[in-house]
């Protein structure tokens, strides 16, 4: 299995695994390591992603470049005036 095939396999595992179902995590395998990036909603979801990767391929080190969404949703920022089409 080459690096690209491994990356695709790991991305598929993150989508399929019942613990994650994460579709926004990007996996790159390069230089003998696995790089995981993208945003997840919580520390629990980050740990689940890392667990699925490690179980699927325990042989390579994993570089965790995941980012966490803000723990608090920020307040809304203004209103947009919508101009509907003439019907």
């Amino acid at each position: 299995m080459n690096d690209v095939q491994l990356a695709r396999r790991l991305e598929r595992a993150l989508i399929d695994d019942e613990r994650t179902h994460e579709m926004g995590v990007r996996i790159v395998v390069a230089g003998g390591r696995i790089v995981a990036s993208g945003e997840v909603a919580s520390e629990e979801r980050r740990q689940a992603v890392l667990a699925v990767i490690c179980e699927a391929d325990p042989g390579l080190p994993v570089s965790d470049q995941l980012t966490l969404a803000s723990p608090d949703a920020p307040p809304p920022s203004g209103h947009e005036r919508i101009i509907p089409p003439e019907h």
Partner: protein
């Protein structure tokens, strides 16, 4: 010169993917909603894994907000085959779930009609799935076509000065910009856009495309807004729509 009519204030967000691990994240940000908007639309993917306990967390966060809350489900909400139970949890909490149905919400600026359907994949003109070949392909394509029929049905008889289409999947490609073009057929369905245009809607709201952009427009000129939370990066957006279509 007569004053412009007051706009209907429509708040919207999608893809909040609630679960016990993020309980409490949204409710504080929703406290001011009654001052900001007349209703809140939530464009599907209310849960992460489609579990009832996640729907219960969504209901805790999004019920009794002081404005009507109207939702459609998303593909995540179907994953565990518990969509009917999820609907019941939400309905019991006073949250409206639409699938091929419309609802009219009275507001101080007039009635708002919301036509809702989850939608489905299919693709867009020139790069869409066809009802041809293997039964699996026909099932995939047929479901996409049926989803647009549900949206069309939802608009029928929906009598209100302002009418909005609410889906999870995108009705246009515009708001998919940023997503890989190879997966656009899995993110949206141009027949949804046709249904919105044929209905003469004033606004279309969707989610699903986390890497897309907020703003688009149907071929018929209806403004489309992708309110997936990773796109808008806020608790909700508010769209002020003037009844009658005159700015």
């Amino acid at each position: 010169m007569s004053a412009s009519p007051d706009p209907v204030r429509i708040a919207a967000v999608g893809d909040v993917h609630m679960g016990p691990d993020i309980r409490g994240r949204y409710r504080p940000a929703l406290a001011a909603l009654p001052e900001e908007a007349d209703l809140l639309l939530v464009a599907g993917d209310l849960t992460q894994h489609g579990l009832v306990e996640e729907a219960e967390v969504f209901a805790e966060e999004f019920s009794d907000l002081g404005v009507p809350v109207i939702t459609v489900l998303g593909n995540h909400d179907y994953h565990a085959d518990l969509e009917l139970k999820i609907r019941k949890v939400l309905s019991d909490a006073g949250i409206t779930v639409l699938e091929g149905e419309g609802v009219v919400v009275p507001t101080p600026a007039g009635d708002v009609g919301v036509a809702g359907a989850k939608g489905f994949c299919l693709g867009f003109s020139g790069r869409r799935a066809s009802y041809f070949g293997e039964p699996e392909m026909k099932a995939f394509t047929g479901h996409g076509q049926h989803s647009a029929e549900l949206l069309r049905k939802a608009f029928q008889g929906l009598d209100a000065p302002v009418r909005v289409g609410l889906t999870h999947f995108s009705p246009v490609v515009d708001t998919l910009s940023g997503e890989p073009p190879e997966i656009w057929a899995f993110l949206g369905n141009y027949l949804l856009g046709d249904a919105i245009d044929e209905a003469g809607a004033d606004l279309a709201i969707h989610g699903h495309a986390h890497a897309g952009v907020e703003k688009g427009i149907t071929p018929g000129g209806v403004p489309v807004r992708n309110v997936a939370q990773p796109v808008i990066r806020t608790a909700y957006r508010v769209y002020d729509v003037v009844p009658g279509g005159t700015p």
